[in-house]
């Protein structure tokens, strides 16, 4: 039954990762990773720091390239696209970066309008309208439009980042650690915004996070990656792929430990490793 569901997912997939391998020099980060994300689904990719979650996200949009394997978006292999086609394809994505990655040299208004100015020929009045709409959508007053990113708090910057990612009304939103570094209230505001965006615009979402609350709240499906350094050579890197409800009852010790946030014997292992170095 599960197998049937997975194959039908793959055939309807908007994003498909096929046997993806990514290495930086001798250090392999992703190994033989295959994943299919259907249109309209919000997937949370969870896992410890350094397990390759952000690398996976950047491979989806072609900011990084796999050592082998490929990424297919809407039936097109992105490694086979020329510069112009990949630019067009990227305009169908919105990316919320870990620290928002707002342009320091620009005002908030210029930041949000950047993708519109770069990818469309809209008149400035129309662009200004969209900027104000997106800003209101993320709960920020129009008085911030003339400010610079450095003048805003972390939560505000993140919301501006989200407004910028939404500016082009993308089909897919990629979130890299959307709640990291925020207080619990602001984290929940971001979670709510992710949910509302999905409901209002029916976007496909990939949320990279190690915050279980975010994964539980915003995702239809949770995929857990495990660091290769802790796996045997032939073990799959995805150690869980299922619903947010199922992950809470997972029998896999590694998954259960992560979900509950228990270190177990990890500290002792690290100390032993440190001594052996």
């Amino acid at each position: 039954m599960a197998a049937t569901k997975k194959s039908s997912d793959a055939s309807n997939a908007l994003i498909e990762l096929e046997r993806l391998n990514v290495a930086f020099g001798r250090q392999q980060v992703l190994r033989d990773l295959s994943l299919a994300i259907p249109r309209g689904q919000t997937v949370a990719i969870i896992g410890e720091s350094g397990c390759g979650k952000t690398v996976l996200l950047k491979n989806i949009i072609g900011l990084m390239h796999p050592t082998s394997g490929h990424v297919v978006f809407d039936g097109q292999r992105i490694d086979q696209l020329n510069d112009k086609d990949i630019t067009t394809l990227r305009s169908r994505f919105g990316f919320l970066f870990q620290n928002a990655a707002l342009f320091d040299s620009m005002t908030i208004s210029e930041n949000i309008s950047f993708p519109l100015r770069e990818n469309s020929r809209m008149p400035p009045e129309k662009i200004a309208q969209i900027v104000e709409h997106r800003l209101t959508q993320v709960g920020l007053p129009t008085s911030v439009l003339t400010k610079r990113p450095a003048q805003l708090s972390g939560g505000m910057r993140k919301r501006v980042g989200l407004a910028r990612a939404l500016a082009m009304s993308p089909e897919v939103l990629l979130y890299d650690e959307p709640t990291t570094g925020l207080d619990p209230i602001m984290s929940d505001v971001i979670n709510e915004l992710i949910i509302r965006t999905r409901e209002q615009q029916s976007v496909t979402g990939v949320v990279v996070t190690h915050d279980m609350r975010t994964a539980q709240k915003v995702a239809d499906r949770v995929v857990m990656l495990y660091p290769l350094s802790r796996l045997e050579p032939r073990e799959p890197q995805i150690i869980f792929d299922g619903s947010p409800k199922d992950i809470m009852n997972s029998k896999d010790k590694r998954v259960a430990q992560f979900v509950r946030g228990e270190a177990g014997e990890r500290l002792e292992e690290m100390q032993e490793q440190a001594i052996s170095y």
């Binding site: 510069d83 990227r90 305009s91 970066f97 990655a101 770069e118 990818n119 910028r164």
Partner: protein
């Protein structure tokens, strides 16, 4: 006894002279390979920048700030250093020329040096220090804070958006800066020679006119265009290949200046040799 045996197992085995030589050669080889890779990578970077330059011109709102920052804001420091270099040349020349009674010919040497060498090299050095390091630090910070990834993800090409305006700024602004450095150096040298050493102004300019011509001005300005291109490419390249963290950004800024300066000096030699040959070809009777 047991202590001795323990020590002998812990101590590293002694390596022969042959191995030491082998390691040294391998180290030198690794450095050479690294330099060759960097050179190739930088050439490719320049080629892609030129391709973007001829494919699509950057938007006005990226060009104007680059031109203002590179050209207008560099003008005061170039003018100031140019003036002092001219004066220093006057001081150094006077003591030598006075011995032979050639004081009135000082203008020829000062003005020729300013036009051919000191003007362009001084403007380039100032630009590499003031603008080159800032470009490397700015692009490096954008790299480590994922702003370059953000640009790419929103459909902008970082080379077209970040490098082409800075490249054009350096390329088109450095001739004006060079002319300013030359002009201020010439004025500085003349004021010092006339006011401090009491050299007759008429003879000073008359002798200068005999030895310095349009070709000498062209000589300096022509070289400066290559220096400007070098500064832009090296600085942007170092910024794009910046290591993570504050230390990485600092290193990129320093490396941008040092590498630009070294390339400028080497280029200066080869361009001077080439320009002298061109002059000989065009005007053989002038020697």
């Amino acid at each position: 006894m047991s202590t001795a045996s323990t020590n002998s197992t812990v101590a590293e085995p002694r390596r022969g002279v042959g191995m030491a030589v082998h390691d040294s050669i391998a180290d030198v080889g690794a450095v050479v390979v690294h330099w060759m890779e960097t050179l190739g990578d930088m050439t490719l970077f320049m080629w892609r920048t030129l391709l973007w330059l001829f494919t699509r011109l950057p938007r006005r709102d990226t060009l104007v700030p680059a031109f203002y920052n590179i050209g207008v804001l560099s003008l005061p420091v170039v003018a100031l250093t140019g003036t002092f270099i001219g004066m220093v040349l006057a001081v150094q020349t006077y003591s030598q020329f006075k011995q032979f009674g050639f004081e009135t010919r000082m203008g020829a040497l000062i003005n020729l040096s300013m036009c051919r060498e000191l003007g362009p090299v001084l403007a380039a050095t100032m630009l590499a220090g003031r603008v080159g390091s800032a470009i490397a630090a700015e692009i490096g910070t954008m790299r480590v804070t994922e702003q370059i990834d953000a640009l790419t993800s929103m459909g902008a090409n970082p080379l077209h958006y970040l490098v082409v305006p800075r490249f054009l700024g350096c390329l088109l602004m450095i001739p004006s800066l060079t002319i300013m450095a030359i002009f201020m150096g010439v004025v500085g040298g003349w004021i010092y020679s006339v006011q401090v050493f009491g050299i007759d102004s008429y003879h000073y300019w008359n002798n200068s006119q005999q030895f310095v011509g349009n070709w000498d001005l062209f000589y300096g300005v022509f070289k400066s265009v290559f220096f400007g291109a070098t500064i832009a490419i090296v600085s942007c390249y170092r910024g794009f290949h910046c290591d993570p963290g504050a230390e990485g950004v600092g290193r990129a800024a320093t490396a941008a200046f040092v590498l630009s300066f070294v390339i400028i000096i080497v280029l200066d030699l080869f361009l001077s040799i080439w320009l002298d040959r061109v002059h000989e070809m065009l005007w053989p009777q002038m020697g």
